[in-house]
């Protein structure tokens, strides 16, 4: 980052060009045509995405039987993916809302991108409950809409809670993200190179001009959204965990799931943000905006949440043992030694052992290490969901009804498709919208605010509100 020649008291001193510089840097990807690398990337991801969609269509046509799901493992890959992607989303809201409330300025550099990821992740996740249905064309029945059966939904079902939680989460994240974007969109409108850009940005920016009145309400709105998003993000993964926690199945029926899921979600979310940012800042040469310092902070969060997750694993084992319930104990034993013990091993290694390297500043600040760690954490978190869902289901109460689960190629194809969809959206995003909030960055660099406090002239007529020019 350029050194800012700031001289308090001297009012023209600070480098106005730096602000322009920031805007240029951030706007660059939207103004210069994409390079070969980008095209190659999006070609790859979008073809993955199309493959995924094709397989989803195939599933809808043939039936769920084309997957590995069976009795007793009625839920498998798709739900694993669903929980995984919802989890990814949580980092965004956490960074943008919670860190905002805690006044963590370092968040500004990554908030925008993290929020975008939230939205894309939730979009990806949202697909799975839909295609997972035996009769997806009746999906609208899970919403309490008046219908010819004059029948409503069962509000006792955690799946209905999911419907509300996920849709709310998506809407609110979108609003939050969009509100943050409006001033930047206005800026982009002014910097638009093509007519299309100009029209689109103008429409999206609502004719934002940056009047003080605008800013006043804008900042309050942002604060409120941050305020409501914080409990929301906690509630969402809590409710997702209720899918399991409220059931009777050993390994599901446990009260630790909600906090454990939330921690895990943040954990995986940060890891994913990490993975993508490391690549991005390099590609778009914005290392001076997203600095090692930012990444180090995130590594600390990863380490912390990793420890929470690890703690949850151990507590789960303890309670299983302590409950003296034979099925519970067997579930624990089965996780550790059963046919899917390897999944547990992968999960434990990636989520608990690997992040420990971040105790060392060297690791926290070394790009290659943190990159590898972030990827491993995501692998681990995917397997955590696999362990929770498949390992618990495949051996529950009656030994006679136990079974094994093996995914099919379709399962893998759809998983790959979900990654394709997510990254395609990311790639389009980085080309279409500012990945870093110009406004916030500019507003917080030293010297960008008034340096002297002035007395407002008293006994003067009030300034009227709502000027219209």
């Amino acid at each position: 980052m350029k050194q800012v020649p700031s001289a308090p008291g001297h009012d023209v001193a600070f480098d106005q060009e730096l602000l322009a510089q920031i805007d240029d840097d951030i706007a660059a990807p939207m103004r210069v045509p994409p390079g070969k690398l980008w095209w190659a990337a999006i070609a790859f991801t979008s073809s993955l995405m199309l493959l995924g969609f094709a397989l989803m269509g195939y599933t809808a046509y043939r039936g769920i039987g084309v997957w590995g799901n069976n009795s007793p493992v009625f839920w498998a890959f798709p739900i694993v993916n669903f929980v995984f992607w919802i989890g990814i989303g949580h980092a965004g809201t956490l960074i943008s809302a919670i860190l905002f409330l805690f006044r963590q300025p370092w968040r500004n550099a990554i908030a925008r991108f993290a929020e975008a990821m939230t939205i894309f992740a939730v979009m990806t996740a949202g697909l799975f409950p839909l295609i997972h249905m035996g009769r997806p064309w009746l999906a609208h029945w899970v919403f309490p809409v008046p219908n010819d059966m004059s029948l409503w939904v069962n509000f006792r079902s955690p799946l209905v809670w999911d419907v509300f939680a996920i849709s709310t989460y998506f809407t609110v994240s979108l609003l939050f993200w969009y509100v943050g974007l409006i001033p930047d969109l206005a800026a982009m409108r002014e910097r638009a190179v093509t007519k299309v850009h100009r029209v689109v940005y103008s429409l999206l920016s609502w004719g934002w001009t940056g009047l003080n009145r605008h800013w006043r309400h804008y900042e309050r709105a942002y604060l409120i959204l941050a305020g409501v998003s914080t409990p929301l993000v906690v509630s969402v993964h809590t409710i997702v965990s209720f899918d399991f926690a409220t059931s009777v199945i050993p390994g599901w029926h446990t009260t630790i799931l909600p906090p454990y899921f939330v921690a895990g979600a943040v954990f995986s979310g940060f890891a994913m943000v990490m993975t993508v940012l490391i690549i991005l800042r390099r590609l778009f040469r914005i290392e001076h905006l997203i600095t090692i310092r930012h990444l180090e902070y995130m590594n600390k969060v990863i380490l912390a949440t990793g420890l929470m997750v690890g703690y949850a694993y151990l507590v789960e084992m303890f309670t299983a043992w302590y409950s003296a319930e034979e099925p519970e104990r067997f579930m624990l034993l089965n996780r550790l030694t059963g046919p899917y013990a390897w999944a547990f091993a992968v999960m434990f290694t990636c989520n608990v052992i690997v992040p420990q390297v971040h105790w060392f500043k060297k690791a926290r600040t070394s790009l290659p290490i943190m990159f590898v760690v972030s990827i491993l954490v995501n692998v681990g978190m995917w397997f955590e969901r696999f362990v929770i869902i498949v390992t618990s289901l495949h051996r529950d109460f009656l030994p006679a009804s136990w079974g094994l689960y093996a995914p099919t190629l379709v399962d893998f194809g759809i998983l790959a498709g979900s990654f394709g969809m997510f990254f395609t959206l990311v790639l389009i995003f980085v080309r279409a919208l500012p990945v870093i909030s110009m406004t916030e960055v500019k507003a917080t660099i030293p010297g960008s605010q008034m340096t002297r406090r002035r007395h407002s002239p008293s006994e003067l007529p009030d300034v009227e509100d709502g000027i219209h020019v």
């Binding site: 039936g63 769920i64 009769r135 939904v153 799946l159 059931s247 199945i249 109460f397």
Partner: protein, 974 residues
């Protein structure tokens, strides 16, 4: 025919216009009107009866008493038809051999009837032909054969029908030199021979379950799927400690069978060691002078020199002692049963032991074998006949409903010999190995389309009446024979008429009926059977020493090096005749829980000795004959014993059964080994490769969990007053069920795991067949499954069968989690599944602790004609993507309620029977109203043996299980 045409039609032929015809036309025209103005959804015509048959109401089921001679033990059944189409088979409650129950085979009869693979038209050398040509040409060929002094070979199954036997006789007399051989892969020939040796005359014996106290079964699977319904019922009746003293069952067997599963003491004994066990027992018997046998000096001396010592038997001394004491303790009410697969001398010894015990009339009662049993030819007869056939002495070979090419031992060379016959005719239901070799393939009528009678049950003459006029251009084989008589002797071509006239001349006069023949005949058809004066019982108390000594000699001579291989009837395919029946193929084996195939069942130690794992191929050979079969490792099997179920590896059986499983037949020889089904000195060699054996159950031990509970008769008294585990009610639901509250009680003490309930449920509730691959993936659709658990040490475990169906929990975990309220509770306590509301999230199935919910992962139903006729019109056919499960046969509940209403009376206990309950031979399942303090289910739910499976979860199941019972010798641990 469209309604419009129908009106014209009926108008044309209606002379006068009586009111019924008028109404018929009215309804038809209404139908025309309604189908004229149709939305797509309303498309589809309504065609009513033009002349409604008396007593027939559209959509209301009717029962016909009949019997199925083509099925094991020729069960007497009620065939329930809807709109004149057979839909469901039930036992004939009035018939002593049935008591209303059935086995799994007869439950699956409707699927055989509507099998899309059935032969539809006469085929000549693969070309479609017609009956006229068939009759003409075949008669001509027969004439030609007769003219040129060539003989005619007629092969049929063992004929239980007097009428059929008379037809064969007429045929024989008409054409002169006709050799008639009956062919049964499994028969009681050895047993008859053995008993003839010692008693002088053949006989069979049945256990009097109400009198017997101690039973020793030697390799005798009388509780197996192929066992008699009456035995299941009789045995089960003596296993309930609250109904007085329990019977004690000893089982000495090499294989693990359903009978062994119910045994109080199961002794793993190799089949070849059975004679020695019996010989020892006999010797022990005569040691006591007071024994009737002991009075006979020769026998006494014979046994004192030749009796075996307990060491030679190879069982622990204390066990043998306990066994002896148990049997001798109450001789008249103890008995010994020897399995049909054992060699003849085993049966001689068993017979000797029984007469030594003097249990005739008490524990056992012997009867003269039925003509069908006696008609089984000796092996050398076959050898001679095939030899003549090879030398071209037969002008025509008629295989009627028999499949010799598959059933006969390979070394007989029947298939090749067949090529020397100028004319081979094969009449069959389905394509078979024999039809593949025949010029004339004639579609046979199914039992449900045929007339007949049978005298398989002593003292009874059971009738068989068709419930559907033949679906295809098929005839029953008796009718074919009648049609092939020389022109001058041709009588009525209609076998029904033949049967009736025969009854008029043969049966009616001796029946001593009061009313005229028509009434007599109609009454007989209505009841399904008549009582006849049963033949004089055979003399079985005296033992012929010479015969016995021969038997003893054989028994002592018998020793078996290496492995021994035992062939038993396929628990699902029997002798292969049910290979094409998907329902049966998909019904898990009661012991191994294997579906869609068989394997070489061996003990773990044997497998280790062969150094092969389950599923890996092993080549078994004896005297140069060899077969390659994958191993199926099972606890409880005696070491060095290989058990193979017959009836698999059909080369031509239709689209379902062809090539399923493995065949032990090539190992057998016509002359047989120790017996036609038992071969010793079998050598095994690890072969290359392996096969996928599909077991429904991946796990077999109870993990010490409490879903199955056992109590010992001795402990029963101690149990008095004490509540069994898990019956404690948790907090009462905020819903109380006024009126009815349906519930089920399942008695594990009675259940023999035969699987009749599952097939009954499949037939009643339109449950699809999914096929081996899908079962392997864990997607079978059965609403009621039989969980089989092993308890105790793997060498010789106890076995408990647990029928597991939807428990209709008051606090149903499945209902709470359904997002769209597709599964909800009915006011009568049923956990209802609303198929059309289901979006298929499968959350309910996850949350079901019993895993009894089934999901239509794919579209499983057979689309080929006439498979659609199999569906029960009362039950929705589910499509893919929808969850389903046991409904307690809600359609039967509705029907029962309606019937009571029409008859203007309240619903009585027993009015409604679920399909599984109705079929169960052991009466292990009881359905009823828990709110009615007088109902059986209410009483059973309160039983001291009663408990709730997984009751600790507090889901409040409506199904009460009654713990399994054992009655071991006090202090004897095995």
């Amino acid at each position: 025919m469209s309604p419009i045409e129908e009106i014209k039609h009926s108008l044309a032929e209606s002379a006068g216009l009586d009111r019924r015809r008028f109404l018929a036309i009215l309804s038809a025209s209404l139908a025309a009107a309604s189908s004229g103005c149709n939305r797509l959804s309303e498309r589809g015509e309504i065609v009513s009866y033009r002349v409604q048959p008396e007593g027939v109401l559209p959509g209301v089921s009717q029962a016909y008493a009949s019997s199925l001679p083509g099925y094991p033990h020729a069960p007497a059944v009620l065939v329930f038809t809807r709109d004149g189409r057979p839909i469901k088979i039930e036992g004939n409650p009035d018939h002593p051999a049935s008591g209303g129950a059935t086995d799994a085979y007869s439950q699956a009869a409707t699927l055989d009837l509507y099998d899309p693979d059935r032969l539809g038209k006469p085929l000549y050398k693969g070309q479609q032909s017609n009956w006229k040509d068939a009759d003409g040409q075949i008669r001509a060929a027969l004439k030609q054969a007769a003219a040129s002094r060539e003989r005619i070979l007629l092969i049929t199954p063992a004929l239980v029908s007097p009428a059929a036997r008379s037809v064969v006789q007429r045929f024989q007399t008409a054409w002169g030199s006709v050799t008639h051989l009956t062919l049964e892969m499994f028969h009681s020939g050895e047993a008859l021979r053995g008993r003839r040796m010692v008693h002088g005359e053949p006989s069979t014996s049945r256990v009097n379950w109400d009198k017997a106290r101690r039973v020793l079964g030697c390799e005798c699977d009388f509780l197996g799927p192929a066992g008699r319904v009456a035995d299941h019922a009789g045995f089960a009746a003596r296993r309930r400690p609250e109904d007085g003293e329990m019977i004690r069952l000893w089982v000495a067997e090499g294989a693990m069978t359903s009978t062994g599963a119910k045994a109080d003491h199961r002794l793993p004994v190799r089949p070849s060691a059975q004679p020695r066990l019996l010989l020892w027992l006999l010797a022990e018997l005569v040691r006591d002078e007071r024994q009737p046998l002991a009075s006979n000096a020769d026998i006494r001396s014979l046994l004192t020199q030749l009796g075996v010592s307990s060491e030679e038997v190879g069982l622990p001394k204390d066990v043998l002692e306990a066994l002896r004491a148990d049997l001798v303790g109450d001789p008249h009410r103890s008995c010994v049963l020897a399995g049909d697969q054992l060699p003849w001398y085993t049966h001689s010894l068993a017979a000797a032991v029984n007469s030594g015990l003097g249990n005739e009339g008490t524990a056992l009662s012997s009867v003269v074998p039925s003509p069908a049993q006696l008609s089984v030819p000796a092996p050398d007869e076959w050898a001679a006949t095939v030899d003549e056939l090879r030398r071209g002495q037969f002008g025509a070979v008629l295989c009627m409903m028999a499949n010799p090419v598959y059933s006969l031992s390979a070394d007989l060379g029947f298939a090749t010999a067949l090529e020397n016959a100028p004319l081979v005719v094969s009449s069959s239901l389905l394509p078979s190995e024999t039809t593949a070799k025949a010029q004339w393939i004639l579609p046979a009528a199914h039992d449900l389309e045929s007339w007949g009678d049978n005298d398989d049950h002593p003292g009874l003459l059971t009738l068989q009446q068709p419930t559907l006029s033949p679906l295809f251009e098929s005839r029953q084989w008796e009718q074919m024979l009648l049609a092939w008589l020389p022109e001058n002797q041709l009588t009525t071509p209609d076998y029904g008429a033949y049967l009736k006239s025969r009854w008029e001349t043969e049966v009616y006069p001796v029946a001593g009926a009061a009313e005229d023949f028509d009434r007599f005949w109609q009454a007989a058809l209505h009841d399904g059977f008549i009582k006849t004066n049963s033949p004089a019982p055979p003399v079985v108390h005296k033992i012929d020493p010479t015969g016995l000594s021969e038997a003893v000699g054989e028994a002592r001579r018998l020793n078996s090096p290496e492995l021994e291989l035992l062939i038993v009837p396929g628990s699902r395919t029997y002798d292969g005749r049910f290979a094409n029946n998907g329902w049966l193929q998909e019904l898990p084996n009661p012991v191994t829980t294997q579906v869609w195939g068989n394997g070489a069942v061996v003990s773990e130690k044997t497998a280790q000795r062969l150094n092969r794992l389950e599923g890996e191929l092993v080549e078994f050979s004896v005297e140069g004959r060899s077969v390659t079969i994958p191993l199926l490792v099972e606890p409880g099997v005696a070491d060095d014993v290989v058990l193979v179920e017959a009836g698999y590896a059909r080369k031509t059986a239709g689209s379902v059964g062809t090539g399923v499983g493995f065949d032990a037949k090539p190992l057998t020889s016509n002359s047989g080994g120790i017996s036609p089904w038992l071969y010793t000195g079998v050598t095994a060699r690890a072969a290359q490769g392996s096969a996928v054996l599909v077991r429904v159950q991946g796990h077999h031990d109870t993990k010490g969990r409490s879903m199955v509970q056992e109590i010992e008769a001795a402990g029963w008294l101690k149990l008095a007053g004490a509540k069994t585990v898990h019956t404690a009610k948790t907090s009462p639901s905020s819903w109380e069920y006024k009126g009815h509250k349906w519930g089920l009680a399942v008695d594990l003490a009675a259940c023999t795991g035969c699987g009749a309930c599952t097939i009954a449920c499949v037939a009643e509730n339109n449950i699809p067949v999914v096929g081996a691959e899908q079962v392997r993936r864990g997607r079978e659709m059965h609403w009621i499954r039989l969980d089989r658990y092993y308890v105790g040490k793997p060498e010789n475990p106890r076995v408990v069968h647990q029928p597991m169906m939807c428990q209709q929990c008051d606090f149903a975990p499945c209902e709470k989690v359904c997002p769209v309220a597709a599964t909800v509770h009915s006011p009568e306590g049923l956990d209802e599944m609303v198929y059309n509301r289901c979006v298929g999230t499968r959350y309910c199935a996850n949350n079901c602790p019993y895993k009894v919910r089934r999901f239509n992962f794919l579209d499983f139903h057979d689309k080929r004609s006439p498979a659609e006729l199999i569906f029960n019109p009362e039950v929705t056919v589910r499509r893919r993507g929808v969850m389903e499960k046991c409904t307690f046969c809600v359609q039967r509940i509705a029907a029962g309620r309606l019937k009571a209403k029409i008859e203007g009376r309240p619903l009585r206990d027993g009015d409604i029977q679920t399909a599984c309950q109705q079929a169960c031979p052991a009466g292990a399942i009881v359905f009823g109203d828990l709110n009615d303090p007088q109902s059986r289910v209410h009483k059973l739910a309160a039983s001291r043996r009663g408990y709730l499976a997984l009751g600790e979860l507090g889901v409040q199941p409506a199904v009460t299980y009654l713990s399994a019972t054992r009655n071991p010798c006090p202090g004897l641990k095995i």
